[in-house]
């Protein structure tokens, strides 16, 4: 049984948001739907690369 540590989880979440707030988005100027499509393309590429590495 995993011991939940919510205080730590919140600390890490806050840290991620802080770090990423300083980064210029590669999706700047894109609509939400366009970003989702880009994320999907990345998913398919990652999956294809995984399959290729296991064949």
């Amino acid at each position: 049984m995993m011991k939940l540590n919510i205080k730590k989880a919140k600390m890490h979440l806050q840290k991620i948001r802080e770090l990423m707030s300083k980064v210029t988005s590669p999706y700047k100027g894109m609509s939400k739907q366009e970003i989702i499509e880009e994320i999907r393309k990345t998913r398919e590429k990652l999956w294809e690369a995984k399959l290729a590495s296991h064949s």
Partner: protein, 140 residues
């Protein structure tokens, strides 16, 4: 209540482009971790990695390990993935759908309209962050 969050939920929750619904959902899940569980497959962590800096990704892994473990993709039965490919989902989307079924998840939360448009005859519900947030607020 078991949830699978699609990568877009994490990315919109703490990436460089944010969506308030996704942010609120993740914050709310953390507030109710006794009643809500999350499972994470390896593929989703890799997608998230592509959208974070190395330092932020390290924090993400630490974040995930505070409340769940990461399941390797190879543990997901191949037949389940093939079933969803047969329903018209792309191979990687099929893996996520298969993972949701395999884990017995109640909800697959995604902003991906390709998932959202296939809500019938699935052993789990597909909802977006906004609806999931409202559901949690109304039921907990």
């Amino acid at each position: 209540m078991l949830l699978i969050l699609d990568s877009n939920e994490y990315i919109f929750s703490f990436g460089s482009v944010r969506d308030s619904s996704c942010e609120k959902l993740l914050d709310t899940i953390l507030e109710h971790t006794g009643k809500i569980s999350i499972r994470v497959p390896r593929l989703i962590t890799e997608e998230v990695r592509n959208n974070l800096t190395p330092e932020a990704f390290k924090e993400f892994i630490l974040f995930v390990h505070t409340f769940t473990t990461i399941d390797e993709d190879k543990v997901i039965p191949f037949e389940l993935g093939a079933k969803y490919e047969g329903k018209g989902l792309k191979p990687a989307d099929s893996l996520i759908a298969a993972y949701a079924q395999w884990t017995g998840a109640d909800f697959l939360v995604s902003e991906n309209r390709h998932f959202l448009s296939r809500q019938s005859n699935l052993p789990f519900k597909v909802i977006n962050a906004e609806h999931c947030f409202k559901f949690i607020k109304s039921s907990i």
